[in-house]
């Protein structure tokens, strides 16, 4: 402990992350301004990408960081969407505030779900969540006021008089359908930025460290005062909230819902898992890479129906067999790039002395 050194300090950023930060800000500005010059189809594609990204980020938070491999996230997509439809149709609420309510209802569903599912481990947990989602789907299809098993559409009066939609119509001089797309797109941008920002923030707090610690070694984590049980709860509820909001938003844009669609394990969980795993689980970058790959595959190949799906399956298998850390895992192993660094680096103090020592010894032979 010498006094002629700088005091200790902790840094998290890297050079790449600072550049990435600046680029991200530019990207956000571009995303927000996009509707001014982009075609509607691009806006819709972006909406799809952003909402799938949100679902993927939350699933990644659950499975990649929280170790909770759920195959029942479609329950929260569906319940969020149905809650939104319910209050719009039955109580006449405007759909925009109803989206938030979708998230709240998803959390309300998540509480009993967690109470039950947390009693189960590993594969039991996975299957348990799947069954719970099925139960929610079956219950929802008994709810005749929103169409039962048939499903229903948002009343056209509600979609036509959507909050802000008129302002957007006059701002961009577009038809009301296009204005609605722009509005949903903006909401998706907000949701995606908030999700990634929020998860990144969480991972950089001490809770993020605790999550990683629990994942590495749960007994040791408990022994240093980490409440592993509460971490699981927090992660599960946060993921349910975000997933519920995303579900409500997705179905606001679709304007039509049915239990089979809204609670589809394939669309809302299996594809999401694909995205996360193809991109790289346990990183924030992974789902971003994954969703882009997924989107490209879908837009190139979706017209080939069965062949497209077969190819998707094969790609998933190959990545799992040969690159279990996903594409981002490959990229960052090659380049060492981290766009969302969470690692804390201690500097100053005794580390400075050491650094200058090693520097000297490195320089010596040259001199």
């Amino acid at each position: 402990m010498s006094d002629h050194t700088t005091p200790y300090a902790v840094h998290t950023g890297t050079k790449a992350s600072k550049i990435a930060g600046v680029l991200a800000l530019i990207l956000i500005v571009v995303l927000v301004a996009l509707p001014a010059f982009a075609s509607r189809s691009l806006i819709q594609d972006m909406f799809f990408i952003l909402t799938m990204l949100v679902l993927a980020q939350f699933w990644n938070l659950l499975a990649g960081y929280g170790g909770l491999v759920s195959i029942g996230q479609q329950a929260f997509v569906g319940i969020g969407a149905y809650a939104m439809f319910g209050v719009v149709i039955l109580a006449g609420l405007d759909p925009i505030p109803a989206i938030l309510l979708g998230g709240v209802v998803a959390v309300l569903l998540a509480i009993p779900t967690a109470f039950f599912a947390f009693r189960l481990q590993g594969a039991y947990f996975a299957i348990g969540t799947w069954v719970i989602a099925e139960v929610v789907r079956l219950m929802t299809s008994q709810w005749q006021a929103v169409g039962g098993g048939t499903g229903t559409s948002l009343p056209r009066s509600a979609t036509r008089e959507l909050m802000f939609a008129e302002a957007i119509e006059s701002l961009f001089g577009v038809r009301s359908a296009a204005a609605r797309d722009i509005l949903s797109y903006w909401l998706a941008v907000i949701l995606a930025v908030a999700t990634i920002g929020g998860i990144y923030w969480l991972l950089r707090t001490k809770r993020g460290l605790a999550l990683a610690a629990v994942r590495d070694n749960i007994e040791a984590a408990k022994s240093v005062g980490v409440d592993a049980g509460r971490m699981k709860w927090v992660v599960f509820l946060v993921a349910a909230f975000g997933t519920g909001i995303a579900g409500a938003l997705i179905y606001l844009q679709k304007a039509r819902i049915s239990p089979d669609a809204a609670f589809s394990v394939t669309d809302w969980t299996a594809y999401v898992i694909f995205i996360v795993v193809i991109g790289g689980i346990g990183t924030i970058e992974g789902p971003i890479v994954g969703v882009l790959v997924f989107f490209i595959l879908q837009s190139l190949l979706a017209d080939y129906g069965t062949w497209y799906l077969m190819l998707l399956g094969i790609i998933g298998i190959i990545i799992m067999l040969f690159a279990p850390k996903g594409l981002w895992g490959l990229i960052s192993a090659r380049t060492g790039i981290e766009l969302f660094p969470v690692r804390r680096r201690l500097t100053g103090g005794a580390l400075d002395i050491q650094k200058s020592k090693t520097k000297q010894s490195e320089e010596a032979p040259n001199g």
Binding site: M1, P7, Y8, A9, V10, T205, K206, L209, A210, A212, A213, R215, D216, N217, E219, A220, A221, K222, S223, V224, G225, V226, D227, A228, R343, R344, R345, L346, G349, A350, L351, Q354
Partner: protein
């Protein structure tokens, strides 16, 4: 009887794994500020005893008091927060975190404070345990020796009142062992109560004031270290020396 001054008191604690009784009606207490050593053959149940004290394992029967409070049913993390710190015999670092981050987890959660508050303390602990140079390495890449140091450092970071150390001196060179003993003495001098399981007897006896011998989960002797070491049972059962 639980004396008010005792930091830790176990009363009739038992634990079985299936048919195997590994802790058999154990009763002892550790007064505040004392350093107690535990020895015993492999598999005697020493580490299990630690797991019971920290709450990593639930006791089958009996009660455990910490600072006079019954903590038998209190979960592990809560016991840590109230002042029980431990090291693991087989080091259990958070392998994906750096050495410094390992300490930050322990310091922020174990003593319920914020990251900025603990930064300096963590750095100081790293200096004391000679890990400072490796602060930014992932702990998965550490050698066994450094992993053991990290165990000690992480336990210290939780700011324990009672520090449980499980075989941290095994495999150290003389110099390293000496440094370790000095560190533990210093911690002890700060008033921390210590319970230390160790096979390296000379290190152990240079620190502890009392020695407990465990065999088949049972306490077969507790008292002054020299007297215990001289006893015939310990020589036979533990040291494997024919007397």
């Amino acid at each position: 009887m639980v004396t008010p001054a005792s930091m830790l008191a176990l009363q009739n604690v038992s634990k079985s794994f299936g048919a195997l009784k590994v802790t058999d009606d154990v009763t002892f207490d550790v007064p505040e500020g004392q350093a107690l050593g535990i020895i015993g053959p492999n598999g005697a149940g020493k580490s299990t005893l630690f797991n019971l004290i920290t709450g990593n394992l639930p006791a089958d029967t009996g009660s455990i008091h910490f600072e006079g409070r019954d903590v038998t049913k209190v979960p592990a993390m809560q016991r840590c927060i109230s002042g029980v710190g431990r090291s693991f015999q087989i080091p259990q670092p958070f392998t994906h975190l750096t050495v410094y981050e390992n300490l930050v987890v322990a310091a922020t959660f174990g003593r319920q404070s914020t990251e900025s508050d603990v930064m300096r303390q963590c750095a100081v602990i790293l200096e004391r345990t000679e890990l400072i140079g490796k602060a930014n390495q992932t702990s998965g890449s550490l050698s066994l020796l450094d992993r053991k140091r990290l165990e000690l450092a992480r336990a210290m970071a939780t700011h324990p009142k009672l520090l449980l150390l499980d075989e941290i001196a095994g495999g150290l060179t003389e110099g390293e062992c000496h440094a370790l003993v000095e560190t533990i003495k210093a911690i002890h001098a700060e008033g921390v109560t210590i319970v230390w399981i160790e096979h390296v007897l000379h290190a152990l006896t240079s620190v502890v004031e009392r020695l407990l011998v465990l065999d088949f989960g049972r306490v077969i002797g507790i008292g002054d270290p020299d007297a215990i070491m001289e006893s015939k049972e310990v020589k036979e059962i533990y040291l494997g020396i024919d007397v």
